[in-house]
Amino acid sequence: MRILKLIFRNVSRHKLRSALTILGIAMAVMFFGVLRTVVDAWYAGVDASANNRLITRHAVSFIFPLPYSYRDQIARVPGVSRVTFASWFQGVYIDQNQFFARMAVDAETFFDGYPEFKVEPDQLAAFKKERNACILGEKTARDYKLKIGDVMPVEGDIYPGKYEFVVRGIYKPRDERIDATQMLFHWQYIDERLRQEQPDRAGNVGWYIITINEPGKAAQISQTIDALFANSRAETKSETEAAFQQSFVSMSGAIITAMNFVSYVIIGVILLVLANTMVMTARERIREYAVLKTLGFTTVHIVGLIAGESLCISLLGGAIGIGLSFPMVGAIGANIPSGWFPIFDLKPMTLVFSGLSALVVGIVAALFPVWRATSMKIVDGLRQIG
């Protein structure tokens, strides 16, 4: 294990250079982690999907509503255990910049359909009783310092008019993959208002959420549901919740591709920086390698020395970068509006990627110096000055 000692000693021979290289690699790895976290955040909805839920929406676009009358027909399809629905309300709360999901849902059944939103039974009961009650995700409640009994005035945009909701419950997410920022209120409350003010828009829901008994039958049940409404005014498209969420991700497909591309560019920069250092280092030590070879050390030892030094630097830089990404992601997550990316965490996969990149970069950066050191003749090496 003396070779390890030699590697460490070599790294500290040029403290400034090694420190700078490690710093450069650490910074790049940290930003790599941040970028990947942003990409992951986009997929949060897909990750949080349950495999026993289907979403039925208007076949053309989910922005078109479906008739309320579909609900009973869907409930009768074999394999369906529960049907609930939701409508995207949004509206303006305080001002345009406060973005978190605001949805009108079927108060009686919604929380049965989404067991991962945990609500205290007494809060749920209070919510169901009051027409203009709402339930908030705990993150939104925290961000806006709202508690039970507070009034939230919302100015509707899709459904114009001034609305006031009273907070009657706060839901906790079952685990960290679940969105804790939503505001949910009674669909009946919105519909009643619509019936008075814009009657031709009443009686419609945004999309149906269907809980099924056997996840394996998802495709079959989806087709059965769509067949019920084929050739009607509002044809439906039913798919698993994961597929539905994925379609949102695909909307920004080009942007995500661009971000992935940039994360590879970052790796490229890390590689260049480390390669630069290793080339310089190896060039200075050609004479030493020649001496080692004369003494009888083999190519394997030389390769080990160079690659070892390269890996040592890159892994150290990688470790520091990974360590720094935690506070960085935390700081960013705290400063973006909670509704943009409801889930913004470093995933274990990202850490693995960062570590692997540091490893691969360490190896690749050593390739050229290794080739040069091993292919030179001892005599030429000894002749080198400086």
């Binding site: 400034l16 250079r17 700078l20 290289t21 710093l23 450069g24 690699i25 910074m27 790049a28 940290m30 930003f31 790599f32 941040v34 970028l35 942003v38 076949a59 053309v60 676009s61 922005i63 078109f64 100015e155 509707g156 945009d157 899709i158 114009p160 031709d200 005014r233 379609s247 695909s250 909307m251 920004s252 497909g253 080009a254 942007i255 661009a258 971000m259 940039v262 560019v265 970052i266 490229g268 920069v269 890390i270 260049l272 920086v273 390669a275 630069n276 250092t277 080339v279 310089m280 400086g386």
Partner: protein
């Protein structure tokens, strides 16, 4: 007495590999930085160019865009009578009542479904949008289930060629023509007869928006005052067409800029580190030279400037390579969903003089920051110890 510039420039070529690696690192950073700015600018350009100076767009108050807006028919008739509206050659006001909906089409490249904007227009729409002109086929006949498609749609989506049919709104529509719109957002739309589309989508009572041309672009305030004076028109939101489209792209452009610049500045630290290491090595390898220069009479400040210049030349080279790579991006068009309107929008990377200057400043900063400390070290070398270092 200054050290000649050629000394700095030629020294870059003594250690070609190292210099190349450093230049490449800076080039990558400049490339990403410029690409991000070009993307955001491209989005803005496409959308803002979509509006004309003397056009005004009206939607319902409280709506953010045409999609979520509804203006009743009788209100439209009231608006038609306003005096500030330009009058066309046929004596009719240049005003188009339009309906905007979204349909699903399958993309050719990824097989995913994409949302496409369908706009129901009146004949005045073409007067209002001079950038739109037919590029193939013919105009749709009014009163028929015919449509024309923007060039981006026919390029990117299946079943969007002349002669093919599209199924939406419970009926089948025939594509009879394609149109170009000078790279503006309209190229990503499908246009048809407004009355036919309203009927098909079951919204006979309300238009999505009204676009009109002012007699003179300075009449905007007069128009606003006339509308505010009329009680019936209180529910209408009025803004210049350019502002409306700028607002649609604002969120996305800001997101891309903020994220992009943040990440780029972050990993530019990596490239700067590369430059620092290179320059320190350059100083270390030329200690004797530096001693000689000082012995010859050059001042410490001359040495400092020389090494700083060398670093700057490296970063300028990186800037050149990065910018050339970035300008190559202009040949690509990207299609994504505009978060404001939920419909597909195609735009390309656009280079502007501003972006060129910004990236130049950025790389100069990288060069100066990277080269500063090594240059200081070179300047502070003691002549005697430097000459003795062998």
């Amino acid at each position: 007495m200054r050290i000649p510039l050629t000394y700095s420039i030629r020294n870059m070529f003594t250690r070609k590999l190292t210099a190349a690696l450093t230049v490449l690192g800076i080039a990558l950073v400049v490339f990403v930085f410029s690409a991000v700015l070009m993307l955001a600018y491209g989005i803005e350009k496409t959308l803002v160019a979509t509006g004309s100076d003397d056009n005004v767009l009206m939607i319902r108050k409280g709506s953010e865009n045409e999609l979520s807006s509804g203006i009743e028919r009788d209100l439209a008739n009231t608006i038609r009578a306003l005096p500030q509206i330009a009058v066309g050659a046929d004596g009719k006001p240049v005003l188009s009542t339009e309906v905007v909906v979204i349909i699903n089409l399958q993309k050719i490249s990824t097989n995913d479904m994409g949302n496409v904007t369908v706009r129901g227009v009146t004949p005045q729409a073409f007067q209002l949008r001079p950038s739109v002109h037919l590029s193939g086929g013919r105009m749709f006949a009014s009163g028929s289930r015919e449509v024309i498609v923007g060039s981006n749609i026919s390029k990117r989506f299946r079943g969007a060629q002349i002669g093919q049919t599209m199924k939406f709104g419970g009926d089948v529509w025939t594509i009879v023509g394609t149109f170009d719109a000078n790279g503006t957002g309209f190229e990503s739309e499908v246009w048809g007869d407004v009355d036919q589309l309203m009927q098909a989508f079951n919204r006979l009572s309300a238009f999505s928006s009204i676009t009109l041309k002012l007699k003179d672009k300075n009449e905007f305030d007069a128009l606003k005052t006339s509308m505010e004076a009329d009680n019936r028109l209180q529910t209408i939101r009025i803004e210049r067409e350019k502002e409306y489209y700028e607002r649609q792209s604002r969120f996305m452009a800001i997101f891309i800029r903020v994220l992009g610049i943040f990440i780029t500045v972050g990993f530019s630290i990596g490239a700067i580190v590369g430059a620092v290491i290179t320059m320190y090595a350059a100083v270390a390898n030329r200690t004797v030279e530096i001693g000689t220069l000082r012995a010859l009479g050059f001042q410490r400040s001359n040495v400092l400037v020389t090494f700083l210049l060398e670093s700057i030349f490296l970063s300028l080279a990186g800037w050149g390579v990065g910018l050339i790579l970035a300008s190559g991006l202009q040949f690509f068009t990207i299609s994504t969903v505009n978060w404001g309107t939920f419909a597909e929008l195609a735009f390309s990377f656009s280079l502007s003089p501003e972006i060129v200057v910004l990236s130049l400043i950025f790389s100069l900063v990288m060069g100066i920051v990277g080269g500063f400390f090594p240059a200081v070290r070179a300047a502070r070398l003691n002549i005697l110890t430097a000459l003795r270092a062998a």
